[in-house]
Amino acid sequence: MPIKYGVPSDPDYNERLREFEARIARGEKIEPGDWMPEEYRRQLIRMISQHAHSEVVGMLPEGAWITRAPTLKRKMILVAKVQDEAGHGQYLYHAAETLGISREAMLEALLSGKAKYSSIFNYPTLTWADIGTIGWLVDGAAIKNQTMLAACSYGPYSRAMVRICAEETFHHKQGKEMVLLYAKGTPKQRQMAQDAINRWWWPALMMMGPHDKDSPNTEILVRWGIKTKTNDQVRQEFINEHAPEILEAGLTIPDPELRYDEATGNWIHGPINWDEFWQVVGGNGPMNKERLEARRRAHAEGAWVREALEAYAAKKQKTAVAV
């Protein structure tokens, strides 16, 4: 029987919505098959599939450096990291499937350009230090967001986040260790590390999304326990952790207005260039076209392989029936 998703025109919608919101208020998890508003389902599919796509597209900028990693150990660590991202993509797609959407439909939305993924992956990885910086800043920002989502009201998403956070924490540590090492290294290494921080700092701040006042989804997401913090809160946590560490390493942050506020204990950042953010979200970032093209190419070139798998499985099934 198809799962029932509530819409406001249902006669019992208001009553069920009250029960649903009371469950969330009590801290209960909503599980697949439970009654839920259609809008809750829609928002979750949007978020989880975006998140899955981000993992899959996120394999590209880092994966490109596997062949150029400078030591056997770094190469091994990077392959393991990119593999983790594929794994995250996989269980996030599964989490979204519990809401009644297929992986094929989600992939189709990605390849057609309809679905979004984190805009951070539309920036290029120009040097090896970018790999460390992505681990430190980009994964650092992702962890802040994902730790928040681990407490979210939808059971499968929340559990996926718990697992993913554990692995991301590892990536974050490795990335930080690399950048700190290069910050103390030769002049060239140092400069490479600084250049990477300069390029990734602002995009990392933008990862948490627009300011609360410009974020139309935030209110309902908070009310239904999908998000438990606002974009600005998460961004502030990220800056408070990372800004002092970067400065401590002897590197600079490309924000002349950045300052520590004694009264609140917060690091206050200067204005974010939201024009750039919306340009990238809208498809005009430096790598949007290439990233999508790489995904499309892999999908198209893999078509004959997937067909072969199906044909083989069908033959095996026929033999099994005949026997």
Binding site: V79, A86, G87, K188, Q189, A298, G302, L309, A311
Partner: protein
């Protein structure tokens, strides 16, 4: 250990490690571009194991002559590498990559099986560590050969094409390196001749069951590991570009 045996063992360990490093490089080119997400994961796993094997072999060499594994991997030129030519060939399509991996995995699994009883204890210990994961690789790639061979006309054709290209290259895996007979005589490494026989028997049976034909005219078969394909230079230029980018850098 007599010095000529030691020299031969150093050369053999280098050849073993170089095969793994270069094959891992080719396989890693797929990560993020595989035909299904699950295969990105599986191939990334194989790459990590291969890098692990390379680290083990270079590590055994390090015990003998103090050489640094990263120096060997990132600061030797193409003409100093001792990998076989099979692993250097560009990754090709999925059939090409899976077939090469199968042919290599079968060789490696059989070699490891025979090397378990090496009289050189560090080698025997290393083999114990990796023999299980090599069996997993073989299971995985063996299954792919069967699926692609028996899948569609197209997948069969692509796999057959890969086989035409790779079959004779694969034979180089069984060409002893100079001095290898000394190692065999001392029981340090297994004799390649009986391994080749088993490899031929297994692979022929499996490939034919998958609906493939062994090439009638196998073509050029490389022998000396001192020679390479024209691909190795650019492969290393890419692989070593970061490590060699800053002459002053001590650590990465």
């Amino acid at each position: 250990m007599r010095s000529e045996v030691r020299e031969a063992l150093i050369a053999k360990l280098t050849a073993l490690a170089d095969d793994e490093v270069i094959l891992a490089h080719r396989n890693s080119e797929w990560v993020g571009h595989g035909p299904i997400l699950e295969e990105d994961i599986a191939l990334a796993n194989i790459v990590q194991d291969e890098l692990g094997h390379a680290t083990l072999w270079y590590g055994l060499r390090q015990q003998l002559d103090g050489s640094d594994p990263d120096q060997l991997a990132f600061f030797r030129d193409a003409n100093e590498y001792r990998c076989c030519e099979l692993v250097e060939l560009p990754k090709g399509d999925w059939a090409f990559t899976m077939l090469r991996q199968y042919l290599f995995d079968l060789y490696e699994a059989l070699w490891l099986e025979a090397a378990r009883h090496s009289t050189y204890q560090p080698l025997a210990d290393a083999v114990q560590k990796i023999i299980r994961e090599e069996r997993f690789h073989l299971q995985h790639t063996q299954a792919w050969v069967e699926r692609l061979g028996q899948g569609t006309e197209e997948s069969n054709r692509r796999l057959q094409q890969a086989l035409e290209m790779q079959w004779s290259y694969a034979q180089q895996l069984f060409v002893p390196i100079p001095g290898e007979e000394l190692l065999v005589a001392e029981g340090i490494v297994p004799d390649l001749a009986p391994i080749k026989e088993r490899w031929l028997e297994h692979s022929t049976r499996h490939l034919q069951a998958a609906g493939l034909k062994l090439p009638i005219n196998p073509g050029y078969q490389p022998t000396s590991r001192a020679y390479h394909t024209e691909h190795l230079w650019s492969l290393l230029a890419e692989m070593q570009s970061t490590a060699r980018w800053d002459a002053e850098a001590k650590v990465w």
